[in-house]
Protein backbone atom coordinates (compact mmCIF):
# COMPACT_ATOMS: atom_id res chain seq x y z
CA UNK A 1 0.00 0.00 0.00
CA UNK A 2 2.60 2.53 1.11
CA UNK A 3 5.04 1.39 -1.54
CA UNK A 4 2.42 2.02 -4.19
CA UNK A 5 1.87 5.53 -2.92
CA UNK A 6 5.59 6.14 -2.97
CA UNK A 7 5.88 4.76 -6.49
CA UNK A 8 3.07 6.99 -7.65
CA UNK A 9 4.81 9.94 -6.09
CA UNK A 10 8.08 9.23 -7.91
CA UNK A 11 6.10 8.80 -11.13
CA UNK A 12 4.54 12.19 -10.51
CA UNK A 13 7.94 13.73 -10.03
CA UNK A 14 9.36 12.14 -13.19
CA UNK A 15 6.35 13.39 -15.08
CA UNK A 16 6.81 16.87 -13.71
CA UNK A 17 10.49 16.89 -14.69
CA UNK A 18 9.61 15.76 -18.20
CA UNK A 19 7.03 18.52 -18.62
CA UNK A 20 9.49 21.08 -17.30
CA UNK A 21 12.13 19.79 -19.71
CA UNK A 22 9.83 20.00 -22.72
CA UNK A 23 8.86 23.51 -21.76
CA UNK A 24 12.37 24.86 -21.37
CA UNK A 25 14.03 22.81 -24.13
CA UNK A 26 13.54 25.42 -26.88
CA UNK A 27 15.27 27.94 -24.67
CA UNK A 28 18.12 25.57 -23.95
CA UNK A 29 18.51 24.64 -27.61
CA UNK A 30 18.50 28.26 -28.62
CA UNK A 31 21.13 29.02 -26.02
CA UNK A 32 23.30 26.09 -27.10
CA UNK A 33 23.00 27.19 -30.71
CA UNK A 34 24.16 30.67 -29.75
CA UNK A 35 27.22 29.27 -28.02
CA UNK A 36 27.88 27.04 -30.99
CA UNK A 37 27.58 29.98 -33.37
CA UNK A 38 29.98 32.03 -31.34
CA UNK A 39 32.56 29.27 -31.51
CA UNK A 40 32.29 28.59 -35.26
CA UNK A 41 34.12 30.12 -38.17
CA UNK A 42 31.91 31.90 -40.64
CA UNK A 43 31.96 29.07 -43.20
CA UNK A 44 30.36 26.65 -40.76
CA UNK A 45 27.50 29.00 -39.92
CA UNK A 46 25.46 28.24 -43.01
CA UNK A 47 26.58 24.63 -43.41
CA UNK A 48 24.05 21.97 -44.25
CA UNK A 49 23.43 19.75 -42.34
CA UNK A 50 24.06 22.27 -39.54
CA UNK A 51 27.08 21.73 -37.35
CA UNK A 52 26.54 22.00 -33.61
CA UNK A 53 30.05 21.25 -32.42
CA UNK A 54 32.62 22.57 -34.88
CA UNK A 55 35.85 20.63 -35.49
CA UNK A 56 38.00 23.59 -34.54
CA UNK A 57 36.77 26.12 -32.01
CA UNK A 58 36.99 29.76 -33.05
CA UNK A 59 38.11 31.17 -29.71
CA UNK A 60 39.38 34.16 -31.63
CA UNK A 61 35.78 35.38 -31.93
CA UNK A 62 35.76 36.06 -28.21
CA UNK A 63 39.16 37.70 -28.25
CA UNK A 64 37.93 39.96 -31.06
CA UNK A 65 34.88 41.04 -29.07
CA UNK A 66 37.00 42.07 -26.15
CA UNK A 67 39.55 43.77 -28.42
CA UNK A 68 37.13 45.75 -30.56
CA UNK A 69 34.70 46.84 -27.84
CA UNK A 70 35.24 47.81 -24.29
CA UNK A 71 33.12 44.80 -23.51
CA UNK A 72 33.95 44.47 -19.84
CA UNK A 73 33.08 48.11 -19.18
CA UNK A 74 29.75 47.78 -20.97
CA UNK A 75 29.00 44.63 -19.11
CA UNK A 76 29.84 46.26 -15.80
CA UNK A 77 27.77 49.34 -16.66
CA UNK A 78 24.85 47.16 -17.50
CA UNK A 79 25.16 45.31 -14.20
CA UNK A 80 25.36 48.62 -12.36
CA UNK A 81 22.34 50.06 -14.11
CA UNK A 82 20.19 46.97 -13.70
CA UNK A 83 21.28 46.38 -10.15
CA UNK A 84 20.72 49.88 -8.92
CA UNK A 85 17.50 50.31 -10.87
CA UNK A 86 16.14 47.12 -9.32
CA UNK A 87 17.28 47.97 -5.82
CA UNK A 88 15.96 51.52 -6.04
CA UNK A 89 12.69 50.18 -7.40
CA UNK A 90 12.38 47.90 -4.35
CA UNK A 91 13.28 50.68 -1.95
CA UNK A 92 10.70 53.00 -3.48
CA UNK A 93 8.11 50.46 -4.59
CA UNK A 94 7.71 48.21 -1.54
CA UNK A 95 6.79 50.99 0.91
CA UNK A 96 4.58 52.67 -1.71
CA UNK A 97 2.77 49.39 -2.35
CA UNK A 98 2.27 49.03 1.40
CA UNK A 99 0.95 52.56 1.74
CA UNK A 100 -1.43 52.19 -1.16
CA UNK A 101 -2.72 48.82 0.07
CA UNK A 102 -3.27 50.07 3.62
CA UNK A 103 -4.83 53.39 2.70
CA UNK A 104 -7.04 51.61 0.18
CA UNK A 105 -5.72 54.20 -2.29
CA UNK A 106 -5.89 52.09 -5.43
CA UNK A 107 -6.56 55.27 -7.39
CA UNK A 108 -3.00 56.38 -6.92
CA UNK A 109 -1.90 52.97 -8.13
CA UNK A 110 -3.86 53.60 -11.32
CA UNK A 111 -1.88 56.81 -11.81
CA UNK A 112 1.31 54.79 -11.57
CA UNK A 113 -0.11 52.33 -14.06
CA UNK A 114 -0.94 55.12 -16.50
CA UNK A 115 2.63 56.31 -16.22
CA UNK A 116 3.64 52.77 -17.11
CA UNK A 117 1.32 52.58 -20.12
CA UNK A 118 2.32 55.91 -21.63
CA UNK A 119 4.74 55.28 -24.49
CA UNK A 120 8.28 55.49 -23.22
CA UNK A 121 9.26 57.94 -25.93
CA UNK A 122 6.97 60.62 -24.53
CA UNK A 123 9.09 60.62 -21.38
CA UNK A 124 12.27 60.71 -23.28
CA UNK A 125 12.44 64.35 -24.34
CA UNK A 126 11.40 65.88 -21.02
CA UNK A 127 13.72 63.51 -19.23
CA UNK A 128 16.52 64.31 -21.63
CA UNK A 129 16.06 68.03 -21.00
CA UNK A 130 15.94 67.37 -17.28
CA UNK A 131 19.17 65.42 -17.41
CA UNK A 132 20.77 68.18 -19.43
CA UNK A 133 19.83 70.83 -16.89
CA UNK A 134 21.01 68.73 -14.00
CA UNK A 135 24.21 67.83 -15.83
CA UNK A 136 23.61 64.12 -15.52
CA UNK A 137 24.16 63.38 -19.20
CA UNK A 138 27.15 61.14 -19.61
CA UNK A 139 26.67 59.45 -16.25
CA UNK A 140 24.70 56.23 -15.67
CA UNK A 141 21.93 58.08 -13.82
CA UNK A 142 19.76 58.77 -16.86
CA UNK A 143 19.68 55.07 -17.66
CA UNK A 144 18.89 54.11 -14.09
CA UNK A 145 16.08 56.64 -13.89
CA UNK A 146 14.59 55.50 -17.18
CA UNK A 147 14.61 51.95 -15.90
CA UNK A 148 12.83 53.06 -12.77
CA UNK A 149 9.92 54.24 -14.91
CA UNK A 150 9.33 50.57 -15.69
CA UNK A 151 10.48 48.80 -12.57
CA UNK A 152 8.77 50.92 -9.91
CA UNK A 153 5.24 50.29 -11.21
CA UNK A 154 5.98 46.56 -11.44
CA UNK A 155 7.15 46.43 -7.84
CA UNK A 156 4.31 48.64 -6.58
CA UNK A 157 1.66 46.54 -8.25
CA UNK A 158 2.98 43.21 -7.10
CA UNK A 159 3.44 44.49 -3.56
CA UNK A 160 -0.07 45.96 -3.37
CA UNK A 161 -1.40 42.51 -4.15
CA UNK A 162 0.79 40.97 -1.48
CA UNK A 163 0.06 43.42 1.27
CA UNK A 164 -3.66 43.22 0.59
CA UNK A 165 -3.62 39.49 1.28
CA UNK A 166 -1.78 39.92 4.60
CA UNK A 167 -4.49 39.79 7.29
CA UNK A 168 -5.09 43.19 8.83
CA UNK A 169 -5.45 41.44 12.21
CA UNK A 170 -1.73 40.68 12.30
CA UNK A 171 -0.86 44.34 12.04
CA UNK A 172 -3.54 45.25 14.56
CA UNK A 173 -2.13 42.67 16.96
CA UNK A 174 1.29 44.24 16.52
CA UNK A 175 0.03 47.74 17.19
CA UNK A 176 -1.73 46.51 20.32
CA UNK A 177 1.56 44.85 21.30
CA UNK A 178 3.05 48.34 21.23
CA UNK A 179 4.50 48.68 17.74
CA UNK A 180 4.65 52.05 16.01
CA UNK A 181 3.38 52.11 12.40
CA UNK A 182 6.97 51.91 11.18
CA UNK A 183 7.68 48.92 13.44
CA UNK A 184 4.49 47.25 12.22
CA UNK A 185 5.73 47.63 8.66
CA UNK A 186 9.29 46.53 9.33
CA UNK A 187 8.69 43.71 11.82
CA UNK A 188 5.40 42.25 10.64
CA UNK A 189 4.22 43.35 7.19
CA UNK A 190 7.62 43.22 5.49
CA UNK A 191 8.76 39.76 6.66
CA UNK A 192 5.39 38.28 5.75
CA UNK A 193 5.57 39.81 2.27
CA UNK A 194 9.02 38.32 1.59
CA UNK A 195 7.82 36.04 -1.24
CA UNK A 196 6.26 39.06 -2.92
CA UNK A 197 9.50 40.98 -2.63
CA UNK A 198 11.40 38.10 -4.25
CA UNK A 199 8.89 37.93 -7.11
CA UNK A 200 9.00 41.66 -7.75
CA UNK A 201 12.80 41.61 -7.53
CA UNK A 202 13.01 38.99 -10.26
CA UNK A 203 10.39 40.66 -12.45
CA UNK A 204 12.04 44.06 -12.05
CA UNK A 205 15.36 42.50 -12.97
CA UNK A 206 14.17 40.86 -16.17
CA UNK A 207 11.91 43.74 -17.21
CA UNK A 208 15.05 45.77 -17.90
CA UNK A 209 15.52 44.53 -21.46
CA UNK A 210 12.37 46.18 -22.73
CA UNK A 211 13.54 49.73 -22.14
CA UNK A 212 17.16 49.42 -23.17
CA UNK A 213 16.16 50.84 -26.54
CA UNK A 214 15.43 54.20 -24.98
CA UNK A 215 18.74 54.16 -23.19
Amino acid sequence: MTSRIIREKTLDQVGLLFVAFVMVSPVILFFLWMISLSLKYEIDNGAYPPILIPETFAWSNYAKVFEENNFLLYFWNSVLVTGSATLLALIIGVPSGYGIARLKAEKSAVVIMIARMTPGLSFLIPLFLLFQWTGLIGTLWPQIIIHLVVTVPIVVWIMIGYFETTPMELEEAASIDGATPWQVFRMVALPIAKPGIVVSFILALISRGTTSSSA
Binding site: P167, E169, L170, E172, A173, A174, S175, I176, D177, G178, A179, T180, Q183, M187, V188, P191, I192, K194
Partner: protein, 351 residues
Protein backbone atom coordinates in the same frame (compact mmCIF):
# COMPACT_ATOMS: atom_id res chain seq x y z
CA UNK B 1 -5.25 45.90 36.39
CA UNK B 2 -7.70 48.71 36.09
CA UNK B 3 -11.31 49.76 35.88
CA UNK B 4 -12.81 50.55 32.50
CA UNK B 5 -15.47 53.23 32.07
CA UNK B 6 -17.34 53.63 28.86
CA UNK B 7 -19.53 56.69 28.58
CA UNK B 8 -21.99 57.40 25.82
CA UNK B 9 -19.76 55.75 23.21
CA UNK B 10 -20.98 56.06 19.66
CA UNK B 11 -19.84 54.82 16.30
CA UNK B 12 -20.96 55.77 12.82
CA UNK B 13 -19.69 54.43 9.55
CA UNK B 14 -20.56 57.37 7.33
CA UNK B 15 -24.26 57.96 7.82
CA UNK B 16 -24.83 54.51 9.34
CA UNK B 17 -24.92 54.46 13.12
CA UNK B 18 -23.83 51.11 14.54
CA UNK B 19 -23.31 51.97 18.24
CA UNK B 20 -25.84 54.35 19.75
CA UNK B 21 -24.39 55.81 22.92
CA UNK B 22 -23.38 52.94 25.17
CA UNK B 23 -22.49 53.18 28.89
CA UNK B 24 -20.65 50.40 30.69
CA UNK B 25 -18.80 50.48 34.01
CA UNK B 26 -16.34 47.70 34.61
CA UNK B 27 -14.80 47.15 38.02
CA UNK B 28 -11.17 46.27 38.58
CA UNK B 29 -10.62 42.56 37.95
CA UNK B 30 -14.11 41.97 36.62
CA UNK B 31 -14.84 39.50 33.81
CA UNK B 32 -17.37 41.20 31.55
CA UNK B 33 -18.93 39.48 28.56
CA UNK B 34 -20.43 41.46 25.68
CA UNK B 35 -22.99 39.20 24.08
CA UNK B 36 -25.47 39.66 21.28
CA UNK B 37 -26.43 38.32 17.88
CA UNK B 38 -24.04 38.64 14.97
CA UNK B 39 -23.82 42.19 13.63
CA UNK B 40 -25.02 43.89 16.81
CA UNK B 41 -21.78 45.84 17.21
CA UNK B 42 -19.83 43.78 19.76
CA UNK B 43 -16.59 43.75 17.78
CA UNK B 44 -16.91 47.41 16.91
CA UNK B 45 -17.29 48.29 20.59
CA UNK B 46 -14.36 46.09 21.61
CA UNK B 47 -12.18 47.51 18.84
CA UNK B 48 -12.95 51.02 20.01
CA UNK B 49 -11.81 50.06 23.49
CA UNK B 50 -8.67 48.55 21.95
CA UNK B 51 -7.97 51.66 19.89
CA UNK B 52 -8.29 49.88 16.54
CA UNK B 53 -11.39 51.82 15.61
CA UNK B 54 -11.87 55.57 15.93
CA UNK B 55 -14.70 56.55 18.32
CA UNK B 56 -17.37 58.84 16.83
CA UNK B 57 -18.44 60.20 20.20
CA UNK B 58 -18.22 59.59 23.94
CA UNK B 59 -15.41 58.70 26.26
CA UNK B 60 -13.41 55.63 27.24
CA UNK B 61 -11.36 55.52 30.43
CA UNK B 62 -8.94 52.83 31.51
CA UNK B 63 -8.23 53.47 35.17
CA UNK B 64 -7.83 57.23 35.48
CA UNK B 65 -6.61 57.65 31.90
CA UNK B 66 -8.85 59.04 29.18
CA UNK B 67 -7.91 56.89 26.19
CA UNK B 68 -10.65 57.62 23.64
CA UNK B 69 -8.22 59.00 21.09
CA UNK B 70 -5.01 57.33 22.21
CA UNK B 71 -3.31 54.98 19.73
CA UNK B 72 -3.68 51.26 20.52
CA UNK B 73 0.01 50.87 21.34
CA UNK B 74 -0.24 53.27 24.30
CA UNK B 75 -3.37 51.87 25.91
CA UNK B 76 -1.67 49.01 27.79
CA UNK B 77 -4.21 46.39 26.78
CA UNK B 78 -3.83 42.94 25.22
CA UNK B 79 -6.21 41.39 22.74
CA UNK B 80 -6.91 37.85 21.60
CA UNK B 81 -8.41 37.73 18.12
CA UNK B 82 -10.87 35.27 16.65
CA UNK B 83 -8.27 34.01 14.16
CA UNK B 84 -5.52 34.24 16.81
CA UNK B 85 -3.44 36.65 14.67
CA UNK B 86 -0.16 34.93 15.50
CA UNK B 87 2.81 36.30 13.59
CA UNK B 88 3.51 33.51 11.08
CA UNK B 89 7.21 34.32 10.69
CA UNK B 90 7.97 34.08 14.41
CA UNK B 91 8.27 31.09 16.72
CA UNK B 92 5.86 30.62 19.58
CA UNK B 93 8.42 32.10 21.97
CA UNK B 94 8.98 35.13 19.74
CA UNK B 95 5.26 35.61 19.30
CA UNK B 96 4.78 35.64 23.04
CA UNK B 97 7.77 37.89 23.68
CA UNK B 98 7.10 40.36 20.87
CA UNK B 99 5.54 43.07 23.03
CA UNK B 100 8.38 42.87 25.56
CA UNK B 101 10.93 43.04 22.76
CA UNK B 102 9.29 46.24 21.55
CA UNK B 103 9.54 47.59 25.08
CA UNK B 104 13.28 46.81 24.96
CA UNK B 105 13.09 44.44 27.91
CA UNK B 106 16.24 42.31 28.50
CA UNK B 107 16.49 39.07 26.53
CA UNK B 108 16.89 37.05 29.72
CA UNK B 109 13.88 38.66 31.33
CA UNK B 110 11.78 38.09 28.21
CA UNK B 111 12.78 34.44 28.25
CA UNK B 112 11.83 34.12 31.90
CA UNK B 113 8.43 35.76 31.43
CA UNK B 114 7.65 33.75 28.31
CA UNK B 115 8.69 30.61 30.16
CA UNK B 116 6.36 31.39 33.03
CA UNK B 117 3.38 32.05 30.75
CA UNK B 118 4.19 28.92 28.75
CA UNK B 119 4.14 26.90 31.94
CA UNK B 120 0.70 28.25 32.90
CA UNK B 121 -0.65 27.29 29.49
CA UNK B 122 1.25 24.03 28.98
CA UNK B 123 3.20 25.37 26.00
CA UNK B 124 6.75 24.59 27.17
CA UNK B 125 7.39 22.00 24.49
CA UNK B 126 6.10 24.17 21.67
CA UNK B 127 8.17 27.30 22.18
CA UNK B 128 10.39 26.70 19.12
CA UNK B 129 7.58 25.85 16.75
CA UNK B 130 5.98 28.15 14.21
CA UNK B 131 2.24 28.89 14.32
CA UNK B 132 1.50 26.81 11.24
CA UNK B 133 2.86 23.73 13.06
CA UNK B 134 0.25 24.05 15.81
CA UNK B 135 -3.31 22.80 16.17
CA UNK B 136 -6.20 25.20 16.63
CA UNK B 137 -6.29 24.75 20.39
CA UNK B 138 -2.54 25.28 20.69
CA UNK B 139 -2.72 28.46 18.62
CA UNK B 140 -5.46 29.66 20.89
CA UNK B 141 -3.22 29.06 23.88
CA UNK B 142 -0.31 30.88 22.29
CA UNK B 143 -2.56 33.86 21.60
CA UNK B 144 -3.54 33.83 25.25
CA UNK B 145 0.10 33.45 26.24
CA UNK B 146 0.97 36.50 24.21
CA UNK B 147 -1.62 38.42 26.19
CA UNK B 148 -0.51 37.11 29.60
CA UNK B 149 3.18 37.87 29.03
CA UNK B 150 2.31 41.52 28.56
CA UNK B 151 0.72 41.76 32.00
CA UNK B 152 -1.59 44.48 30.65
CA UNK B 153 -4.26 46.48 32.45
CA UNK B 154 -7.09 44.91 30.44
CA UNK B 155 -7.55 41.72 28.40
CA UNK B 156 -9.81 41.91 25.37
CA UNK B 157 -11.13 38.79 23.68
CA UNK B 158 -13.08 38.82 20.41
CA UNK B 159 -14.91 35.51 19.95
CA UNK B 160 -11.71 33.59 20.72
CA UNK B 161 -13.32 30.17 20.76
CA UNK B 162 -15.49 30.25 17.68
CA UNK B 163 -12.94 28.46 15.48
CA UNK B 164 -12.61 25.47 17.80
CA UNK B 165 -14.66 22.30 17.82
CA UNK B 166 -17.38 21.90 20.45
CA UNK B 167 -15.37 19.83 22.89
CA UNK B 168 -12.27 22.00 22.78
CA UNK B 169 -14.46 25.07 23.14
CA UNK B 170 -15.80 23.83 26.44
CA UNK B 171 -12.29 22.99 27.63
CA UNK B 172 -10.80 26.37 26.62
CA UNK B 173 -13.75 28.15 28.17
CA UNK B 174 -12.75 26.59 31.45
CA UNK B 175 -9.09 27.43 30.93
CA UNK B 176 -9.76 31.09 30.21
CA UNK B 177 -11.90 31.32 33.30
CA UNK B 178 -9.27 29.58 35.42
CA UNK B 179 -6.60 31.89 34.04
CA UNK B 180 -8.73 34.88 34.96
CA UNK B 181 -9.24 33.62 38.49
CA UNK B 182 -5.51 33.08 38.79
CA UNK B 183 -4.20 36.40 37.49
CA UNK B 184 -7.28 38.54 38.03
CA UNK B 185 -6.81 40.97 35.16
CA UNK B 186 -9.88 42.97 34.12
CA UNK B 187 -11.30 41.18 31.08
CA UNK B 188 -13.75 42.15 28.34
CA UNK B 189 -14.87 39.15 26.36
CA UNK B 190 -17.01 39.24 23.21
CA UNK B 191 -19.14 36.32 22.11
CA UNK B 192 -22.39 35.61 20.30
CA UNK B 193 -22.79 32.44 22.34
CA UNK B 194 -24.99 33.03 25.37
CA UNK B 195 -23.80 29.79 26.97
CA UNK B 196 -20.25 31.14 26.96
CA UNK B 197 -21.55 34.38 28.41
CA UNK B 198 -23.51 32.64 31.16
CA UNK B 199 -20.69 30.31 32.17
CA UNK B 200 -17.81 32.80 32.12
CA UNK B 201 -19.10 36.23 33.05
CA UNK B 202 -19.18 38.10 36.31
CA UNK B 203 -21.30 40.59 34.42
CA UNK B 204 -23.03 40.27 31.08
CA UNK B 205 -23.79 43.15 28.72
CA UNK B 206 -26.47 42.19 26.21
CA UNK B 207 -26.16 44.20 23.00
CA UNK B 208 -28.71 44.39 20.22
CA UNK B 209 -28.50 46.60 17.13
CA UNK B 210 -26.00 48.89 18.81
CA UNK B 211 -28.05 49.42 21.98
CA UNK B 212 -27.56 47.84 25.40
CA UNK B 213 -30.60 45.73 26.27
CA UNK B 214 -29.51 44.82 29.79
CA UNK B 215 -26.47 44.65 32.04
CA UNK B 216 -26.34 42.22 34.92
CA UNK B 217 -24.94 39.11 36.51
CA UNK B 218 -25.73 35.90 34.59
CA UNK B 219 -28.40 34.73 37.01
CA UNK B 220 -30.02 38.17 37.17
CA UNK B 221 -30.43 38.06 33.41
CA UNK B 222 -31.78 34.55 33.62
CA UNK B 223 -34.19 35.21 36.46
CA UNK B 224 -35.33 38.71 35.59
CA UNK B 225 -34.80 39.52 31.93
CA UNK B 226 -35.58 43.21 31.47
CA UNK B 227 -37.26 42.81 28.11
CA UNK B 228 -38.43 40.37 25.47
CA UNK B 229 -35.09 40.44 23.64
CA UNK B 230 -33.06 39.38 26.67
CA UNK B 231 -35.71 36.85 27.62
CA UNK B 232 -35.41 35.18 24.24
CA UNK B 233 -31.66 35.51 23.98
CA UNK B 234 -30.46 34.29 27.37
CA UNK B 235 -31.10 30.65 28.21
CA UNK B 236 -30.92 27.54 26.14
CA UNK B 237 -33.25 26.22 24.88
CA UNK B 238 -34.84 29.63 24.49
CA UNK B 239 -37.75 30.84 26.62
CA UNK B 240 -41.27 30.31 25.25
CA UNK B 241 -42.77 33.69 24.38
CA UNK B 242 -46.51 33.49 23.87
CA UNK B 243 -48.84 36.31 22.74
CA UNK B 244 -52.05 36.91 24.63
CA UNK B 245 -54.05 39.02 27.10
CA UNK B 246 -55.13 39.05 30.73
CA UNK B 247 -58.79 38.27 30.86
CA UNK B 248 -60.93 37.23 33.82
CA UNK B 249 -57.93 36.64 36.04
CA UNK B 250 -56.11 34.38 33.61
CA UNK B 251 -53.77 34.63 30.65
CA UNK B 252 -55.49 33.73 27.39
CA UNK B 253 -54.01 33.38 23.94
CA UNK B 254 -56.02 34.32 20.88
CA UNK B 255 -56.43 30.60 20.17
CA UNK B 256 -58.02 30.04 23.59
CA UNK B 257 -55.17 28.46 25.54
CA UNK B 258 -55.31 29.40 29.22
CA UNK B 259 -52.05 29.63 31.16
CA UNK B 260 -51.46 30.14 34.90
CA UNK B 261 -50.30 33.52 36.22
CA UNK B 262 -48.11 34.41 39.17
CA UNK B 263 -49.74 35.34 42.49
CA UNK B 264 -48.84 39.01 42.54
CA UNK B 265 -49.32 40.98 39.36
CA UNK B 266 -48.83 44.65 38.57
CA UNK B 267 -52.16 46.45 38.77
CA UNK B 268 -52.32 47.64 35.19
CA UNK B 269 -51.89 44.43 33.19
CA UNK B 270 -55.57 44.03 32.33
CA UNK B 271 -56.62 44.45 28.72
CA UNK B 272 -53.14 45.14 27.37
CA UNK B 273 -51.45 42.94 24.81
CA UNK B 274 -48.92 40.85 26.70
CA UNK B 275 -46.16 38.39 26.09
CA UNK B 276 -46.11 35.43 28.41
CA UNK B 277 -42.65 33.97 29.00
CA UNK B 278 -41.87 30.58 30.47
CA UNK B 279 -38.59 28.70 30.19
CA UNK B 280 -38.74 25.15 28.84
CA UNK B 281 -37.01 23.86 31.97
CA UNK B 282 -39.74 25.34 34.19
CA UNK B 283 -42.42 23.13 32.72
CA UNK B 284 -43.01 19.72 34.31
CA UNK B 285 -44.89 16.75 32.93
CA UNK B 286 -47.68 15.85 35.33
CA UNK B 287 -51.06 14.25 34.73
CA UNK B 288 -53.16 17.19 35.99
CA UNK B 289 -51.49 19.60 33.54
CA UNK B 290 -52.42 21.27 30.25
CA UNK B 291 -52.79 18.87 27.39
CA UNK B 292 -50.39 19.04 24.47
CA UNK B 293 -49.41 16.84 21.53
CA UNK B 294 -45.72 16.12 20.98
CA UNK B 295 -44.60 17.47 17.61
CA UNK B 296 -40.88 17.06 18.24
CA UNK B 297 -39.01 14.87 20.72
CA UNK B 298 -35.24 14.94 21.22
CA UNK B 299 -33.58 12.94 23.97
CA UNK B 300 -29.96 13.53 24.93
CA UNK B 301 -29.88 10.95 27.72
CA UNK B 302 -29.74 13.47 30.54
CA UNK B 303 -32.91 15.24 29.48
CA UNK B 304 -35.75 15.24 26.99
CA UNK B 305 -36.51 18.24 24.84
CA UNK B 306 -40.00 18.29 23.39
CA UNK B 307 -42.18 20.70 21.48
CA UNK B 308 -45.82 20.36 22.39
CA UNK B 309 -48.74 21.68 20.44
CA UNK B 310 -51.34 22.98 22.92
CA UNK B 311 -54.38 24.47 21.19
CA UNK B 312 -52.22 25.65 18.31
CA UNK B 313 -49.49 27.17 20.53
CA UNK B 314 -46.06 25.63 20.08
CA UNK B 315 -44.49 25.22 23.52
CA UNK B 316 -40.96 23.99 24.14
CA UNK B 317 -40.39 21.87 27.23
CA UNK B 318 -37.28 20.44 28.80
CA UNK B 319 -37.94 17.46 31.05
CA UNK B 320 -35.22 16.24 33.38
CA UNK B 321 -36.96 13.00 34.35
CA UNK B 322 -36.80 10.17 31.91
CA UNK B 323 -40.06 8.88 30.46
CA UNK B 324 -41.20 7.54 27.20
CA UNK B 325 -42.70 10.04 24.79
CA UNK B 326 -42.91 9.70 21.05
CA UNK B 327 -44.02 11.94 18.27
CA UNK B 328 -47.81 12.39 18.41
CA UNK B 329 -48.17 11.35 22.07
CA UNK B 330 -50.30 13.45 24.40
CA UNK B 331 -48.35 15.00 27.27
CA UNK B 332 -49.73 16.96 30.21
CA UNK B 333 -47.63 19.90 31.28
CA UNK B 334 -47.62 21.93 34.46
CA UNK B 335 -46.24 25.47 34.44
CA UNK B 336 -44.71 26.80 37.64
CA UNK B 337 -46.49 30.18 38.04
CA UNK B 338 -43.65 31.63 40.12
CA UNK B 339 -41.38 31.22 37.07
CA UNK B 340 -43.61 33.08 34.65
CA UNK B 341 -42.34 36.31 33.08
CA UNK B 342 -44.75 38.88 31.70
CA UNK B 343 -43.83 41.52 29.16
CA UNK B 344 -45.70 44.41 27.59
CA UNK B 345 -45.95 43.60 23.93
CA UNK B 346 -45.88 47.26 22.87
CA UNK B 347 -42.75 48.36 24.71
CA UNK B 348 -41.15 44.92 25.05
CA UNK B 349 -40.46 45.68 28.72
CA UNK B 350 -40.86 43.39 31.66
CA UNK B 351 -43.94 44.04 33.80
Amino acid sequence: MATVNIQNIQKNYGAVKVIHGVDIDIADGEFVVLVGPSGCGKSTLLRMIAGLEEVSGGEIRIGPREVSHMPARDRDIAMVFQNYALYPHMTVADNMGFALKLKKVDQSEIRAKVGRAAAILGLEKLLDRYPKQLSGGQRQRVAMGRAIVRDPQVFLFDEPLSNLDAKLRVQMRGEIKTMHQRIGTTTIYVTHDQVEAMTMADKIVVLHDGYIEQIGAPLELYDRPANIFVAGFIGSPAMNLIDGRMEEGAFRTSKGLILPLPQSLPADVGGRELIYGIRPEHIRAEPQGIEGRAILVEGTGSEIFARLDAKGEDIACLFRERFDIRFGDTVHMVIDPARVHLFDKQTGRRL
